[in-house]
């Protein structure tokens, strides 16, 4: 039960090596072994979306993935979003009051990042689809919706 395996993975551009039991979830590994506590755990069973991160370019519930499954993968977490300053998505959430307690926020930011990577100009329905797996108990989603709209506009302007 306590046998561990060596794993090596890239998180936010940094390479990490560590040992994990086969049963250790990826989010527990990120938080406890790598000290990357920006990714939060809300339900441990893949419904709330708080632990959403990007694995090889795709959003993943890090509570539903084992650390050993991420061996060799390239990950991005909320710690990798800004580069010494707020990312335009983070700025947009701040300006539109798209968060209250902030616990679900890293998951929303990563889901938004994935959406806007794939679709620069999402429709209302596409935004709702992309965020449909993220639960927020505070905001009632309206300000989050506006934040994503603003983030899309900011990213387009930055590109132009």
């Amino acid at each position: 039960m306590t046998t561990t395996r060596q794993i090596r993975l890239t998180v936010n551009g940094m390479t990490y090596e560590g040992r994990a039991e086969p049963r250790t979830t990826l989010v527990d590994f990120l938080r406890a072994e790598l000290g990357l506590t920006g990714t939060h755990v809300g339900c441990e069973h893949g419904v709330c979306g708080a632990c959403t991160i990007i694995v090889n370019g795709q959003s993943v519930r890090s509570c539903l993935m084992l650390a050993v499954q991420a061996d060799g993968a390239s990950l991005m977490t909320v710690e990798g979003l800004g580069d010494g300053k707020l990312h335009p998505i983070q700025e947009a959430f701040m300006e539109e009051h798209g968060l209250q307690c902030g616990f679900c926020t890293p998951g929303f930011l990563m889901a938004t990042y994935e959406l806007l990577q794939q679709n620069q100009d999402p429709s209302d329905e596409e935004i709702k689809d992309a965020l449909g797996g993220q639960i927020c108990r505070c905001t009632g989603y309206q300000a989050i919706f506006r934040s994503v709209r603003l983030a899309a506009a900011k990213l387009k302007t930055a590109e132009a």
């Binding site: 809300g42 979003l81 307690c101 449909g132 927020c136 108990r137």
Partner: protein, 808 residues
């Protein structure tokens, strides 16, 4: 020292406020957006152990024996505690009503599924969970008390044998000549209602790290505490410690909504720390633990209610009979939720008489906890649905029966029959705004057209009060002592002129640090970034309570302004000495202390504060070298409750009118929200975006309560909804993007005229949606009186009404 707290923005020492009253970006956000906030599970202490809790699989059983010997042998396990340790080292937790509680770990029997039986501290959570599987517990199952009605019968099995009954409290309150009102009524409308259990479910569960000092006999707990000082008092009593040796540090936490819980988890980790010789012990509640056995469940209610009316539609009496299933113990303060409707019993209406026939009963369900709104949301639903039933019976439009019965604007302050005083309001203005925004007449035309096509389209329109600035005296009827809830803030200016506010509560989501910073930046004429707000622990902070009962915006702004006034008076004395005048000639304006009527005779606040700290030779003899002041505020004019529970309790009464349009799919019973309009009046808005966020968040929780969320139990009191796959929280696709209007009727009793708005729309949304659903069902002659109106319930009703689309 009497302090004059500013009553309006124009009373602030600034020629034009730059921050307060505006939707400024929140000072909390950079930390939260980058994942750097110190939520409790992000904290690791040297030598820390991890706790896992073994829980009862039975709802009601006697514990015959516990064997932990195999678990103790597992490598990594450091210490295990059971009921024996709890018996030796703890007292039962505080309850309301009194004496309906147990120790943190079951000693003789278990009373609900998930009740803690034993706990392990190990070097990792994984190992601690492994150890739980090695603990053997022998149970003798007892008959379950599952039905609150049967629980009242004399031969029912008992949850607490020593009480000889399952009734925790039974009272019949009558306010005014209510029986005469019903006797003399032209019409009486009655209905039964059932509100099923819902609950808070913040995205972060409860978590704690406890550390016992065996030499000092002291305890330090870091945790996601909503009410740290209250929790500290509870631990002092349950763990038998000296009160100033219990220090609680509230970490930023991921929401609470009243339902964070945590008393048992804190006691259990304290015991583990004590038994381990003082190592810090962390426990993070998992989601299943939260749903099954945490601060998760509220409002399990069976109502019978009636309205008495005169021929002209004026309501003369309201009778409400409530059977409230509080679950296995009274440890969760669920009883407070049955008491709080006294603060707004008759809603927005000038109903002169009322009766509240209240029974609180124990069953083998999870002990009920508070949840945002704390009881009025179901009560408001009952009242508003009855108003619609009466309107329909008298052939009146729902808008018109409400308009006819509103407390008129000139009647404030207005005392309702159940004793609370409403500060101010203009309910008709909110109604008119909602009607105008929604183009109500056109909506009714569209509805008529839809009905012709057989569509089930409904319009719900309700008016409710949100009592704000809670007071303990509102809960006297369930045994809570005391009047007044002190909240203190310390404001200081450092040697370089920067301002720090020290408060007794942690980040929770409402943006209160931003509000304090807005006020201080305007008061002392600095930038928002020049102000820092810092949380202090329970032994360092001035008297405090923190968020709860829609109080903190008002309480915090009052305390912040009070401290600022005291500090200004000090600065003025020093400035007078330096500017060679009398203190009464000095005023603060735009960050300068200046001599009235003498242009140019002025000094910046920072310079005066710096002088106080570094030039004792220049200070007047009666001024200490401390540019700092503390002010502790409590709501003025509160009165102790009389024998009928009547008190001036909550200081403010915000109000809202919601108008919602829904359509029911007759084939599935699914409800779609088509349009949603809100006219909300919470007085002066200190930060409009914060307020809108509170309202919209309340809408989402109201949508959940009305349509999705429900704790299902089986006949053995086993919870069937112990994950988020079964307990359904609303998502972005379920919550309407609402159209909101802000009305402003300032409170005459609060600083700046703001009213409490933190609980907000959950008071209104469930009633609005249920009224809309019933409006949609009206042509079929059936009523939905069970909340949530989930698809299965509505589909059954449609079937009962022989709707052609609803058949097998």
């Amino acid at each position: 020292m009497a302090v004059e707290i500013p009553k309006a923005f124009s009373d602030l020492p600034t020629s034009s406020p730059r921050w307060i009253g505006r939707s400024v970006n929140r000072v909390e956000d950079p930390l939260l957006l980058t994942g750097r906030a110190e939520f409790i599970d992000n904290v690791t202490l040297p030598g820390m152990l991890h706790c896992a809790i073994l829980r009862s699989p039975y709802a009601h059983a006697r514990i015959q024996g516990i064997d932990v010997s195999e678990a103790e042998k597992l490598p990594g396990v450091v210490v295990i505690v059971t009921g024996e340790d709890a018996e030796r080292w703890t007292q039962p937790g505080m309850t309301m009503p009194e004496n309906w509680g147990t120790r943190c770990l079951a000693t003789d029997k278990v009373r609900f599924v998930g009740e803690p039986v034993a706990a392990v501290a190990a070097t990792s959570r994984y190992l601690a969970e492994d150890a739980l599987e090695l603990i053997q517990v022998e149970y003798e199952p007892l008959p379950t008390v599952a039905d609150p009605v049967k629980a009242l019968e004399p031969d029912s099995p008992l949850i607490f044998e020593e009480h000889g009954t399952n009734i925790m409290l039974q009272r019949d309150f009558k306010w005014g000549e209510v029986d005469a009102a019903f006797r003399d009524a032209d019409h009486v409308f009655s209905e039964k209602f059932r509100w099923h259990r819902v609950g808070a479910n913040p995205l972060e569960t409860f978590g704690v790290i406890s550390q016992w000092d065996p030499i000092e006999q002291s305890l330090t707990c870091r945790g996601s505490f909503q009410s740290p000082s209250h929790m500290a008092l509870g631990r002092t009593l349950s763990l038998g410690l000296q009160s100033n040796k219990v220090r609680l540090i509230s970490q930023p936490h991921g929401g609470s909504f009243g339902g964070k819980g945590g008393a048992r988890g804190t006691d259990i980790t304290a015991l583990l720390s004590r038994k381990s010789g003082g190592r810090p012990v962390k426990w993070i509640e998992d989601r299943m633990e939260y749903l099954m056995a945490g601060g998760s469940q509220a409002w399990d209610r069976y109502y019978e209610a009636s309205l008495a009316l005169k021929q002209d539609g004026s309501v003369t009496g309201l009778k409400v009979k409530l059977l409230d299933d509080l679950g296995a113990t009274a440890e969760g303060y669920g009883a407070m939720s049955a008491a709080k409707p006294l603060t707004c019993f008759t809603g927005c209406y000038a109903i002169p008489t009322a009766e509240y026939d209240l029974t609180l009963v124990a069953t083998n369900r999870l002990p009920a906890s508070p949840y945002r709104g704390m009881g009025p949301p179901p009560h408001n639903y009952v009242l508003e649905h009855l108003m619609d039933i009466a309107a329909s019976g008298l052939g009146l439009d729902p808008a018109e029966i409400r308009r006819k019965n509103y407390i008129p604007p000139e009647a404030f302050p207005y005392t309702i029959p159940s004793g609370n005083e409403y500060d101010s309001g203009n309910y008709e203005a909110a109604l008119d705004k909602a009607l105008e925004m929604s183009d109500y007449k056109k909506l009714r035309d569209e509805q008529a057209e839809a009905r012709k096509q057989g569509r089930l389209l409904g319009i719900g329109l309700v008016s409710t009060i949100e009592p704000g600035v809670f007071d303990w005296n509102a809960y006297a009827i369930v045994g809570m002592p005391g009047t007044g809830v002190p909240e203190g803030v310390t404001v200081s200016i450092d040697v370089l002129g920067k301002i720090t506010a020290r408060v007794g509560f942690a980040l929770e989501g409402q943006g209160q640090y931003t509000v304090a910073a807005q006020l201080l930046a305007d008061y002392f004429g600095v930038e928002l970034d020049d102000v820092q707000v810092v949380a202090q622990d329970t032994l360092s902070a001035p008297p405090h309570f923190g968020p709860g009962g829609s109080r903190l915006g008002v309480a915090l702004s009052a305390a912040t302004l009070g401290a600022s006034e005291l500090l200004k008076n000090k600065l003025a004395k020093v400035a007078a000495q330096l500017l060679q005048t009398q203190p009464e000639n000095v005023e603060l304006m735009d960050g300068m202390l200046r001599v009235k009527g003498v242009p140019g005779a002025e000094m910046p606040v920072a310079q005066v504060a710096g002088t106080m700290l570094t030039r004792s030779d220049l200070l007047p003899p009666d001024v200490d070298p401390s540019p700092q002041a503390t002010y502790v505020w409590t709501a003025p004019g509160r009165t102790p409750a009389d024998e009928q529970g009547r008190a001036k309790s909550y200081l403010t009464a915000a109000n809202a009118c919601h108008l919602v349009v829904v359509e029911i799919d007759p084939e599935t019973g699914q409800v779609e929200i088509l349009k949603y309009f809100i006219a909300d009046d919470c007085g002066t808005r200190l930060n409009p975006s914060n307020v809108e966020g509170m309202i919209q968040g309340g809408v989402a929780q109201g949508v959940g309560a009305a349509l999705f969320e429900e704790y299902h139990y089986d006949e053995d009191c086993q919870l069937l909804t112990s994950t988020f796959m079964d307990y359904l929280l609303p998502t972005i696709s379920d919550v309407p993007m609402t159209e909101k209007a802000a009305l402003v009727t300032p409170s005459p009793f609060t600083p700046l005229g703001a009213k409490g708005v933190g609980e907000s729309a959950i008071h209104t949304t469930p009633a609005a949606i249920m009224c809309a659903i019933n409006d949609a069902l009206a042509p079929l002659g059936v009523r939905a009186t069970e909340v949530p109106a989930s698809p299965n319930r509505l589909w059954s009703l449609l079937r009962e009404a022989k709707h052609p689309a609803a058949s097998e």
